[in-house]
Symmetry: C2
Subunit: 349 residues, 2 copies
């Protein structure tokens, strides 16, 4: 039975990087011996022009059916914002995993000193379906002119399930969990979090737990990124902290992500976004998409071998063949050249 | 007529760093020839133990009178959270200026490569009296258990006045302004900001304006801090971005801040917070407090000479005599030793 992958390249650099993700996925399937069936859907601007919707009814139906069948994943490129929020909400993709690693041989592209970035291997576990993103909006007019507000919101269920994912990931990794919050300014919301964290800390007694105010967390990440293992954060803080960590390793283009629900359905996407200024030039870094495919192999297909193969190939390839964002003073390869080089390397390993 | 300074050392490292701020203030007054009258008030834990309030009525009265007289400033140390929010709100201290510079001779303590951090000289202009900090709170119980929410709120007046401060600061500096926002997730709130920004951009045609989503802003700050001049941010994002910038220069202990209202009243405080783990040990970095005094000299007393004197003395002192947070592998001096060294240096310049 094939693994079904719904491919949604989207806008900006989405199509060009996703093409390389697909190339690597196809290579992995071939080498590791599993079947993948791909279906492509235009989403974002193109879909909007055609149908007035950022995602067509047909694409959503394919996702609905794929989720129900339990054999389908989404490989996502990039969109400005609307459609991704819609997918996260519709499929309750609350668990956003964003691993950030410093790559040996790539420390030249990190803005950090080699001795600071070296050994960095962290995972941001970001809540993805609540917080101010989905909060109630109000608007009005008063003595200060127009005003608008949007609510940061969490309930116990939302906080508990993502915290449990974070503890579980920490247990499988280096057993350290750091919670980023702002209890000193947003007290009631974070007391909901603390309430669910207490019993989990007991239950995961083998996981060392600490916490930082998000502002201090941002500073500590710059000062000693290698000290962190799993970082648990609500949606907005997780958004900021994971991009920050991407800056620290030298390029957002390197970062993959997985957004999962409790039904085994997931969306895999690079963190880099549409990057409109470099779109269409065949210079964007496809590694974020390629490593998202690696996460898909593990989480959706249960193929740790394929994940490891892809990761090893990336590690072996990028020091020598790098796109402009990570090539430093050396020569740069194109998006497609890097994707091909990774796929070729996979065949040699 | 003396300049009146209300000294509120507060908790944690507040008292020890503020002592050095006062030492330097006294030296500056003596050398530059102006009079300073100091009044001390216990705030924070000590005040709470005594009176049940984090700030006594008497201290607030002194501030009220000082604001009315127009000749008074607050030199603030640190507190866990409540009293500082109260002062910001009561005196409408909406304009929070947080300069961040890389110090020549201190690039060893920055986690960033020297060529990345070198030349960094930016100013975070953070709105300080609105946003989620002061937003409406709601709580309840539903199918997801307990829930709580707090509103991120802005009106035109609040956004306009801080944006105007940022444009004005940019005009006096390198004429570049970058706005950090999250329009793609918190649309209505940021359309209030965009509405007031448009006319200001016209009015300040000499200031180059650009903007980033806050997540990308965090990454860009890591990748190329020296490219930024003034960064305008709402309260919560400004909190995170300024600490992040502090991490990039190597220590939060180096950063000063000024919180100003439209009546010429201001509160000056280091960014570092209470830092409970190192409190009482005479090892905290007093530079944040000392440079806050420098900001006070300029903004409150109009004494640019005193500001420059203090800054030069700090610059000349810290490469050789540094507290543990910035001494790197070299020997460290105590909080008091560093304060004294700066004051001594001021007398030699
Ligand atoms: C496009 C935007 C709404 C989105 C987010 O903030 O979640 C993006 O930054 C991300 O991290 O996936
Ligand atoms: C103590 C805390 C509420 C405060 C804030 O977030 O404003 C602090 O971090 C600061 O930056 O002054």
């Amino acid at each position: 039975m094939p693994m079904n992958v719904i491919v949604m390249p989207g806008d900006g650099i989405g199509p060009e990087v996703t093409r390389e993700g697909v190339r690597v996925l196809t290579a992995a399937a071939e080498i590791c011996g599993f079947d993948v069936a791909l279906r492509h859907f235009d989403i974002g601007e193109a879909a909007f022009q055609e149908s007035g919707d950022f995602i067509s009814e047909e694409a959503l139906r394919a996702c609905d059916e794929g989720q129900a069948a339990g054999d389908t994943s989404i490989l996502f490129g990039a969109v400005p914002s609307e459609p991704i929020g819609l997918l996260r909400e519709r499929y309750d993709l609350y668990a956003n995993l964003r691993p950030v690693r410093s790559y040996p041989g790539l420390s030249a592209v990190s803005p950090l000193k080699q001795e600071v970035i070296e050994g960095t291997d962290l995972l941001v576990v970001r809540e993805l379906t609540s917080d101010v993103y989905y909060g109630r909006q109000r608007q009005g007019h008063g003595s200060g002119g127009e005003w608008a507000s949007q609510e940061m919101y969490y309930d116990e269920h939302q906080a508990r399930r993502i915290a449990a994912v974070a503890f579980e990931q920490a247990r499988r990794r280096r057993k350290r969990l750091t919670f980023a919050h702002k209890t000193n300014a947003i007290g009631p919301v974070f007391s909901v979090w603390w309430k669910v964290l207490e019993p989990l800390r007991e239950q995961y007694g083998d996981v060392e737990f600490d916490d930082f105010y998000v502002d201090n967390m941002a500073a500590q990440l710059c000062l000693r990124p290698a000290d962190f293992d799993v970082i648990l954060a609500p949606n907005l803080f997780g958004d900021i902290l994971s991009d920050l960590a991407g800056g620290l390793v030298g390029s957002l283009g390197l970062l993959p992500s997985a957004s999962l629900n409790d039904r085994g359905f997931g969306l895999y996407e690079p963190v880099s976004g549409t990057a409109p200024t470099i779109a269409g030039k065949n210079i964007a870094n496809p590694v974020g998409s390629i490593l998202s495919v690696a996460m898909m192999c593990e989480h959706a297909f249960g193929r740790v071998d394929a994940r490891e193969l892809i990761e090893s190939a990336v590690l072996a390839t990028i020091p020598g063949r790098a796109t402009a964002d990570i090539s430093g003073p050396g020569p740069a390869v194109t998006t497609a050249e890097l994707g091909k080089a990774v796929a070729d390397r996979m065949r040699e390993i």
